[in-house]
Each structure stands twice: as structure tokens, then as C-alpha cells.
Amino acid sequence: GSGDGGGDGGGGTDDVTITMLPKNLGNPYFEASTAGAQEAADELGATVEEVGPDAASPDAQVPFINTAAQQGVGALVVSANDPTAIGDALEEARSAGTKVVTFDSDTEPQFRDLFVNQASPEGIADKQLELVADQIGGEGEIAILSASANATNQNAWIALMEEKLASDYPDIELVEIVYGDDDDQTSFDKTAALLQSHPDLKGIVSPTTVGIAAAARYVSTSDAKGRVAVTGLGTPNQMREYVEDGTVEAFALWNPTDLGYLATQAAAALASGDIAGEEGDTFDAGRLGEFTVGADGEVLLGDPYVYDETNIGDFDF
């Protein structure tokens, strides 16, 4: 590795082309991360192009990965819809010389060069449990509204939350996990079903931005408002309405713009040969400062940030 930490020393970034491949288009979370990617690319003089399927499924992502390989782009920044299903395509892209950076949702480590992690899974799980425990007074029934049943990151967080619940929160019972497929309507209807089947439910944790907004929308208009707490991971714009009307007390999220920014910086560093993605490599990520590659090729953005009534007005994404 050439990890001398000098992103500006590489000089090869101005002709780097980067393809940004989110889970799906039409998702404001990824819109924010792509904005960050664009920002980084502008600073670096690289070009970034966002492509993606209209529904979040791995088979729909593969043709875009193939296309990136055909075009011979310098780097591919992707949020994986499945840890293995897109692996082959990624490997082919890498063998065609494209550097692969996953962000937001990882593949198995052998398929990519780097994973830019928004927050450590433990950090995310802990934060959400903290929030919900706080909001329901430390005891009662809670449920989880997840994205799709196969989403890697969701499942990892849920597993950690279950562990932590068992050890640290004996009075909180997780009664059901449902899947809203990151679809507004499905998530909305699943929330309704949750409240229906668990009349004593005290809180809903939704570790996905689509889910938490749908859950908040449902709860805000039902008699569960004020009785059932909604928290999880959401974006300020989607949640503003529900924080203001009191449905939601507080929720968490890292800054997706920063995440896209960091992933693009890392991708550019890889593509220009500044780093190789080995553990211990360091690179300069513009306004975010210097980052070090950790074990398994992971780069950690930081801890999730808690949004509530007091600070939500400061954000617009």
C-alpha cells in the first residue's frame, strides 16, 4: 500500500470516473448521499454518474454493475441489495480494473475493496434501543418495522438489538418484526397491522428511513398517537412534520450526504492508486478530515446523530 495519507498528493483524480449505484432510485436518502458524492467529485475534479434500478432488488442492480465494467469506470460506489447476489458481477468489474466501494449496505468482504460504514452496527443498535427505551419509560412491548427481509444491514442491526434487549433491557419485549420492503404503502399498512395485532404495543423501531416515515404518518393520524412511540433511523425532511406534531420525540441517523462524500473520496483514492484498501491505509477525505481503513477493509464514518425538536430545524435533507 501507498498509504501516505496525501489525497492531494495523488494528482490522478481529475480523470477518475465514478459510478454511483444506490439500492434504488427515487429514495431521498440516496439522493442525499449522491449529492455528497457529487460534492466530493467536484472538489476532486472527478466525474460521478448515478445509475440504478427502480426497485431495490439485487438482480436489477447487476446489469448496472456490468455496464460499469463495460465502460471501464475507475470506481463503483454501491449500496448492496444482497450480500452475495451481486458478488460475481462485482468481481468481474474488479477484474476489469474497476475499484469497488460499498457504502450503506455491505457485500461479503471479498467482493469489494472498501466498505464505508455509516456507523458501527453496535453503535446503531445501541442508539436505537436507547431512544426507544427512553421514550417508553424502559418497559413494555415494542416491534420492529424493517425494510426488506434480505437487507444485510437491517438484519445485522436487528440481530444486535435482539442480543442487547435480552441482556440489558429485561422489561422490554420485542413482540414482532415486520417488513415494509422500503415501500411507503407496505410499511404504512404493516404499521396498521402491528397496532392491530398488538394492542399493548408501546413503541415501534424502524431502522429504515422509508419505514419510520410511514410508521410516523400512520401513528400521527391514529388514536395510538402519544401512546405508541416511533423511533429509528430517518431523515429530517421526512420526519419534520411528525416531530413538530409530537408523534415522534427523537430519531437517529448519520448524515447521508457525508456518507456519500466519504465513499466517493475513498473511491477516488482507490482509483488513483493513493491507497490499496489495506488495513491501516489512511486517506484524506476533504472536509471530513483523515480516515483510516480498519479491519476487513472498513472505513467508519462515525456515530449516529440524534435529531429532535431542538435541532431538526438546522437540517435540510
Binding site: 434504488n24 432510485l25 427515487g26 429514495n27 431521498p28 440516496f30 439522493e31 449522491t34 427502480d54 426497485a55 427481509a149 414482532e176 415486520v178 417488513y179 415501500d183 411507503d184 404503502q185 404504512f188 399498512d189 404493516k190 396498521a192 397491522a193 397496532l195 392491530q196 395485532s197 394492542p199 416515515a213 410511514a214 404518518r217 393520524t221 391514529s222 388514536d223 395510538a224 425532511n237 421526512q238 419534520r240 412534520e241 411528525y242
Partner: protein
């Protein structure tokens, strides 16, 4: 015929009551809480409106697969209108969306009627096209609750005398269309057109106008459903209504509208929509995991068509028997039954 049809709709209504009854027995809140009662009425409202429109199209022996895409486009349009002109009266926005839906339906209808090409193919094409237009227009943009007026979002959940506003909208649409189909010349001609399009042309019925009307109505109702979607869910992304076409067709079929046109009622279609969604909500309550929902819905659809076949068979047997026992005065007596043994009926529709 009336009686049999009535029995068909009564059957679905009964199934619906059984589902509600059983689920309520397991979990009283399903019906007997304020939220349960509201959701029971509110959840199917959008699908009911779509199913009524689809039923009219199917009655003419066509199908409109683009309704999900039309819903997505008009729901997004609704949001954009509010963003562009926050002071626009809700009614105006709704009318614009309905008109847009009618226009999209009219495009389908015009291609089908004038080029004389199958609706299944055309609307499969416009399913992609309309969705593509929404995606292009919206990109990653999304309409959030904060983008739309509170009063509008309120319509999505408000109740009048214990009945949600959207449910009232669905009921009004249902009654109006049912009344039209039953009591007007145009309505009967829709049935005739679906029953035998060639004969309709030979009779000089305004087949094209009827087809255009049916598709435009279907589109307009999909547009209305788009407005309802925006009001109810509060967020609209470019994926709104994705894949809904098969659910709507499923509801129509469950409701006893023959897929080959000419028979069935919009009331049946509406009941079919209610049954599908209520079962969806009931399953988790009675302890069947989420994942198996679709399987149950599939069994329901197949069961409904099979039931229709049984009823139709029984009806033709009855008609045949009537001819045998009570021969018309002029036809020479004879006990040769019509070519309507079970074998024949199957061939006719296979």
C-alpha cells in the same frame, strides 16, 4: 340471472363477514376499537376505487394494466401541484389529477379502439411508459407530508360520523358507477360490447365511444385513487402504486367480474377489493406470518374463479333443464339438451 348474480355478490360479502368475524373473535380490537373500525373501512378505499374503474374496463372485454402507473403519476402530480401552488383549493388539485388520469386512460382507450389492438398489450406498454414518465419527472425527488397542506392530509384520515372520508369517496364512486351501468343505455351497451364485440359493431352500437369512455373512466378513477393515495400515505415517491395492477385485476376477478367481459358488477369488484385487503390485514392477527399472505391471496383468487365456474355451470344446467321441462310452444318438443354439458362449457372458455 339477477338472482344468481346477487347470490355471487352475497357470497363475497359473506366471506368478508366471516373473515371479520373470525378475526374479531381472535382479537376484538380488529373490529371493536376505534382504530380497528376505521382501518377496516379505510384500508380498502383506494383499491375499491381502482377496482370499480377496472371492472368497467373488464366488462367491455378489455383490461387496463397501466392503472398502477397512472396512480403513481397522478399521486406525484398531486404533490407537485401543492408544492407549486400551496394555496390551490384541494378540489381543484383533485380535479386536475382526475383529469390527468382520464387523459392517460383515454390514450390507452384511443390506441385500443382505433388501432384495434388488444388492451393487454397496449396497457402493458403504457404501464412501462407512464411509470418511466413518473420516474423521469420525479427522479429521486419525493413528496413528503410537509409538502402538502394539513387539511388535505387530514382528508386521508378524517372521519365523518365514524366513517372515514376516503371511504365515503369510494362509496360515492361505487354507487354512481353502479347506477350508471344499471340504468342507462350507455351502461347496458358496455355490457353488450364486452359480451360480443363483433355483434356490437354489427348492431351499430357506438363501440369506439364506449371503449373510450370505459378507459377514460378507468383512468379518471385511477387518477382519483392517486389523489387518495397522496392524502392517505402523505408521502409519494416515484414508486407509488408499483405492481398494483395485478392486485386490482385480482380484486375484480375475486369480485366475480368475468375476465372475458360482459358480466359482473362493480359492487362485486368493490367487495372483492375489500375482501383481499381485509384478509391481508387479518392474517397476522390470527397468527399466520406475514410471509404467507400472498399465498393465501392466491388461493383466494383461484378459489373465486373456480366458484364462478361452478355457479355458471349450475346456471346453464338450470337453463337447459328449463328448456327440457318447459319447451317453448313452437319449438318441436325434444329432450336433446343444448351443447352445454360440462365438456362443452369448458371448451367454450378454454
Amino acid at each position: 340471472m339477477r338472482n344468481v348474480l346477487r347470490r355471487r355478490e352475497a357470497g363475497i360479502a359473506l366471506a368478508l363477514l366471516v373473515v371479520i368475524g373470525v378475526t374479531t373473535a381472535v382479537q376484538p380490537g380488529f373490529l371493536l376499537s376505534a382504530g380497528g373500525w376505521r382501518d377496516l373501512l379505510l384500508t380498502p378505499a383506494i383499491l375499491v376505487v381502482l377496482a370499480v374503474g377496472q371492472a368497467v374496463v373488464v366488462i367491455t372485454r378489455n383490461v387496463d394494466l397501466s392503472v398502477g402507473s397512472v396512480l403513481g403519476l397522478t399521486a406525484y402530480l398531486t404533490g407537485r401541484l401543492f408544492l407549486a401552488a400551496p394555496d390551490l383549493p384541494i378540489l381543484v388539485v383533485a380535479l386536475v389529477a382526475v383529469a390527468a388520469g382520464a387523459l392517460l386512460g383515454l390514450i390507452n382507450g384511443a390506441i385500443v379502439a382505433f388501432a384495434r389492438v388488444p388492451a393487454l398489450v397496449i396497457t402493458l406498454g403504457t404501464l412501462y411508459v407512464y411509470r418511466g414518465v413518473t420516474l423521469t419527472w420525479a427522479g429521486s425527488d419525493r413528496i413528503d407530508a410537509g409538502d402538502m397542506p394539513r387539511t388535505f392530509l387530514g382528508l386521508g384520515t378524517r372521519q365523518v360520523l365514524g366513517v372515514p372520508v376516503l371511504t365515503i369517496v369510494g362509496a360515492v364512486v361505487l354507487l354512481a358507477v353502479a347506477y350508471y351501468l344499471h340504468t342507462s343505455r350507455g351502461g347496458r351497451q358496455l355490457y353488450a360490447t364486452g359480451s360480443d364485440p363483433d355483434a356490437a359493431a354489427l348492431q351499430g352500437l357506438p363501440v369506439r365511444r364506449r371503449l373510450l369512455g370505459a378507459f377514460a373512466l378507468g383512468g379518471a378513477l385511477a387518477g382519483l385513487a392517486g389523489v387518495m393515495f397522496a392524502a392517505r400515505y402523505g408521502t409519494v415517491s416515484s414508486g407509488a402504486g408499483l405492481g398494483m395492477e395485478l392486485q386490482v385485476v385480482g380484486a375484480v376477478v375475486v369480485g366475480g367480474v368475468a375476465i372475458f367481459g360482459g358480466s359482473g358488477t362493480v359492487a362485486g369488484a368493490a367487495l372483492g377489493a375489500m375482501l383481499l385487503l381485509t384478509i391481508n390485514r387479518a392474517l397476522p392477527v390470527v397468527g399466520i406470518p406475514d410471509f404467507w399472505q400472498r399465498a393465501v391471496v392466491g388461493v383466494l383468487i383461484i378459489g373465486a374463479i373456480a366458484l364462478d365456474r361452478v355457479l355458471a355451470n349450475r346456471r346453464s344446467r338450470r337453463l337447459a333443464a328449463a328448456r327440457d321441462t318447459d319447451p317453448p310452444a313452437t319449438t318441436p318438443p325434444g329432450d336433446a339438451p343444448p351443447g352445454t354439458g360440462p365438456d362443452d362449457r369448458e371448451e367454450a372458455t378454454a
